[in-house]
Structure formats: C-alpha cells, structure tokens
Amino acid sequence: MTTWITEHWRLLLPLALGWVCVWLLMPRGPHRSRALAGIFGLAGLLAVKFYWLPPSGPLLQDIFFLTFAAMAIIGGVLMITDHNPVYAALWFAIVTLAVCGLFLLNSAPFLSAATVIVYAGAIIVTFLFVIALAQQSGSAMYDRRASHPTLATLSGFLLLGCLMFTLQEWGGQAAAEGGNAFLKVPAGTTANLGSVATEDLGSLRSVGRSLFTDYVYAVEIAGTVLLIATIGAICMAPRRSQGNL
C-alpha cells in the first residue's frame, strides 16, 4: 500500500488537493473559507501542471491550452460550488466554451462549432432561463447548502482518479514507445483513422466522410432514436382540438 502510494504520489497529490479545495468550497451555510480553498485549488492545479503537462509545442499553443484548460477546470469547480444557480449555469457556459477552445486547438473545428451551436447556443440558454424564472423568491434551501458534500466530492474525485489513472497508463505506454502521450489512439479505433487522408485530418470533409462511412450505423441509430423521441413528444403534447390546451 505505502509503496503504491509512494509510486503514484504525483497522481494522488493533485487529486487530494483538488478534493480539499472543492470540499471547502461546497456551499454550507453562510461561512465559506474561499481563501483557503483557493490556495488548495491553485496548489492542486500546479501539481497537475507539473506532472500532466502535455508535450510542449509552440509557445502560443501552450498558452492557449493552459488558459482553456484552467478555464474549464476552474469554471467546472465554480459551477458546482456557486450559491446562485444562475451563476452556476453561466459557469457551465464558460466550461462549454473553454472545452470548445480545446477542441479547436486539437484541430476539430467542426466539433467545436457544433458544440457552441447546440450546447452554448441552445441548451444552456434554455436551461439558464428555466433557472432564472424558477428562482423568483431568492435561492432555495438546497441551493444554500450542499446535501452530502463529503460523499459527493469524494465519489467525484474517486471517479476522476480512476480516469486519470487509466489515462496515465496509456500515456506511460505511449511515452515508452516514443510516441505522443496525448495523441495515442486506443486499440480498435485505428482502422477508422486510416480511412482519412492525413492532409484532411480535422477538416469538415473528413468528419463527414468518417461519420457516414465508419460510423454510419451509429449515426443512423442515433438519428432514429431522436426521431422516435420527437414523435413521442408530439404525441404526448396537448392538442388544441381536444380541448386540453
């Protein structure tokens, strides 16, 4: 056990620091130790940065990556810890936009723009408005106080730890093979990348071709499911002629 911890302290340290930060920030009545939480959070981010920094590319790209990544992480933490649900929805929008920026950096402009249109443009706006209209008489009890802060944060960070551990395993293997730790493709999906010409990588053309050749069944099934959901919604919606609207 102790040997495992000493072996993986660089993975465990940021997780622990981050957990303390989020745990401190969780809404629990009027008193919050923001300063302390901020120190822990910054320490956690720095610890992540030193161990998990992607292979450094051009300076500008690194700056953008770090900015977007930090925006996404900080926005995510603030999203789940903010008292005000409207601000929480706005932090969610910031997280989405930051993730879109990361997509752009990884030459996936289509994914980035589609995410902005669908998530930031439509879903979060609707979401935001429902929240803004629902909170007429101040924030409710469940907004001022988290119900199980310790358990919730612990399970969340446990999940994150598992995720990072598996990623680290891959990254370690790829690094050992002399490849790029963060562009390693999991086994079984290499066939799909092979159908795309290298110069087309990331362009709209290749995305479309990949969607309608490699993933045609998935796309069709997803489309059918959405169609069924739409028809169901129309069937369940009240009808004017039946007098229930």
């Binding site: 289509f110 723009a113 249109i117 930031a120 443009g121 706006v125 408005f129 209209l133 002629s241």
Partner: protein, 378 residues
C-alpha cells in the same frame, strides 16, 4: 510574416470594423429618414444639412448622458450583457467577405479571416451566442418586462436558428463547402446565371426571413415591442449601454446582408461591370462597390419591411418557424440532395423550388379548411 503582411492584416481588420461602426450610425439615420418618408413626415433635419450630422449628435448624447444604474439589478451581468451583444455581432463578421477575396500573401484579402474551413458554421456558432446578451440583460435588469422580453427572445432565436441553418444547407451542398468565399467564388465563375438565387430562391427567402427573426428585427421584434413590454430586455438600459444594444442589432443585420449577398446574389459579381475576367484598373473598387450596393439594397428592403408588416403574435411566430419554415427548408434540402445524387440538371431547381412553394401553399389552405371543419365538428 513580413512587416508588409502585418500591415495588410491589420488594415483588413481595422477598415471593415470602422466602416461598419460608422455605417451603422448612418444606417440608423437612414432608417429614421425612411420611416419618416413612409409616414409622410420629414424626419430628423435639425443637425447639419438635411440632418446629416444627426448620428454625431446622437453619439455625443449617448456618451454624455447620465449613466443610469437601477438599484435592484445584478451589476456584473447588467454591464456584461451589452458587451456580449456587441462583441458577438462584430466577431461574426470575421468570416464574411467584403470584396474580391484572396488568400495570397501580400494581397489585400478583403476578409478578416481568409480560408476558414468552417465559414458559415462559425457564423452560426457566434450568432447563437448573441442571445446571451439579450437573456442576461433581461434577467440582470430584475424587471418583469425585461424578463418577458428576454424569454421571448431566447425562444425565438433558438427556434429560428434551425430554419436559418437548414436554408443554407442547400447552398452548402451545391458548393460542396461551408466556406463563404468558396461559395461566392463558385457563383462568380459561372457568371450571372450562376447566382444561387436561380437555384435556391426558396432557400433565399427562408434565409432572409430567418435572419430577420434571428436579429430581432421587425416584424419579429417581439423581444422589445414597445407597446407591450416598454422596450423589452433593454427597458432598464440607458446611454451608451443602450446604444451598444442598438449597435449590436445593426451590425447583426449588416452581417446578414453581406451573407445573403454572398450566398445567393453572387457576392461582388455583376454582369459586364464586375465579373471574374474584369481586370481594368480600379476593378477592385467597382467590385467592392457592387457588393456594398447589394448589401445596401438588402438593408433598405429590411427597413421597408419594418413599416410594411405588422408584428407577429407569438404563436404565429413559433408556428411560422416550426410548421412552415422548417418543413420547407427540409424539403428544399431533400430536393438538392436528389439533384446531387442523380445528377439532374440544376436548371430544374428553380421550377422545383416554385413547386415546393405552391405545394406548401396548397397544403396550408387544405389544412386550414380541415382544421376549421374539425373545430366545427367539435
């Protein structure tokens, strides 16, 4: 990049931005004058000859006016909202060509960001962020009128994004690209009969309508109708922050005018005076002027429509989007797909579009009659 390239890049950014901001001020004057003429009035005529200095006077007034901040607002979001509106409206202009574009180094590009593969998708993505300005402004004002206006705006913009996107899909399929420059240049290569309006007239109509709804212009300005909502989301705004909302709206319709001209009306192309072959000295200026004339015509049409059609009721607005425009746009895309798949002559797209339009009209008449007979039976 050499120093020369940097200068060209900066100019390509700075010139359109400043021209647009100045043009918007004069578009507001034009709108006031046009509406005055339509209503048999004189319009603003005090500042300068024929009121030509009115935008300047307005600007001075907006800047010098007292900065009103109501006490019951959410300050941060209240200040942020007009900024978002202005920023997204100007940001969307990055992929819009404003002249004979080129991506060669050392040549003035006539577009801020040349060769963006995303093109239209970028435009829609940034345009969809525009609604944040309205919704945050409406909510942060802590005023029921503003909240209602913002609610209407968000529902409207989210609904009209779908026909807006679907109506350009036909053009995208025809050109095989989402890049506005590519779409424009392909039309120009085929001359006057290559303009997309001859192949996609229905889509152009849908795009124009959806674009007006998207930018909250009359007759779709339910978010800010004065009679019911005292001004909607900007009820609590004054001075420069109010001006920024108005500026955002005007930049938005200007951008949409450019996009409409470039997608459906051949961009800077005009028979005989500005074609792909014309290389006489000063041709670029003529090309820019042709494009600007087209944009100006679109803007004047929008302003004429403002005083022609009364404002929609909200259920009519939603009905128009979901029951009329989205099915029509879908059928139009299907038609283009059939033409592409079976290699039919694209000249038949014009009668095809007309046929779709007539079918929609017949279906509308029939469904209205059967709906009435159903209601009578009930």
């Amino acid at each position: 990049m050499t120093l020369n390239d940097w200068i060209i890049l900066l100019l390509a950014m700075a010139i359109p931005m400043h021209v647009i901001l100045g043009a918007c001020a004069y578009l507001i004057l034009l709108e006031r004058k046009l509406s005055a003429w339509m209503q048999d009035r004189v319009g603003p005529n005090r500042a300068g000859p024929m009121g030509l200095l009115q935008p300047l006077a307005d600007g001075i007034k907006f800047i010098l006016k007292e900065e009103m901040m109501p006490g019951h607002i959410n300050k941060f979001l209240y200040v942020l909202a007009p900024g978002i509106t202005c920023f997204t409206a100007l940001f969307a202009f990055a992929v819009v060509p404003y002249g004979p574009t080129s991506s060669e180094p050392g040549v003035f590009p006539f577009i801020i960001a040349p060769n963006v593969d995303l093109g239209l998708l970028f435009l829609f993505a940034v345009g969809s962020l525009n609604v944040y300005g309205i919704i945050l402004g409406g909510w942060a004002s802590n005023n029921k009128y503003s909240a209602l206006g913002a609610l209407r705006a968000s529902a409207q913009v989210v609904s009209y994004e779908i026909p807006l996107g679907m109506s350009v899909l036909g053009v995208i399929l025809l050109a095989g690209s989402m890049n506005i420059e590519t779409i424009m240049n392909q039309q120009i290569e085929h001359g006057f009969m290559g303009w997309n309006i001859w192949y996609q007239p229905l889509a152009a109509l849908l795009f124009f309508t959806a674009a007006m709804a998207e930018s909250n212009r009359l007759p779709f300005d339910l978010a800010e109708c004065e009679q019911e909502l005292v001004g909607g989301f900007h009820t609590e705004y004054s001075s420069m922050k109010f001006a920024m909302f108005a500026l955002g709206e005007y930049v938005h319709i200007t951008t949409l005018g450019f996009v409409l001209s470039c997608l459906y009306f051949g961009g800077w192309h005009f028979p005989w005076i500005a074609t792909a072959e014309s290389a006489y000295p000063g041709a670029w200026a003529v090309k820019v002027l042709v494009l600007l004339t087209k944009v100006f015509a679109v803007l004047v049409l929008i302003q004429l429509l403002r005083w022609t059609i009364p404002r929609f009721r909200f259920d009519q607005l939603m009905g128009l989007a979901w029951k009329v425009m989205i099915p029509l746009a879908t059928v139009n895309v299907l038609m283009v797909m059939c033409f592409k798949q079976f290699g039919w002559d694209p000249m038949w797209m014009l009668p095809g579009s007309l046929a779709i339009f007539i079918c929609a009209g017949v279906v509308g008449v029939q469904s209205a009659r059967s709906g009435r007979s159903l209601a009578a039976a009930a």
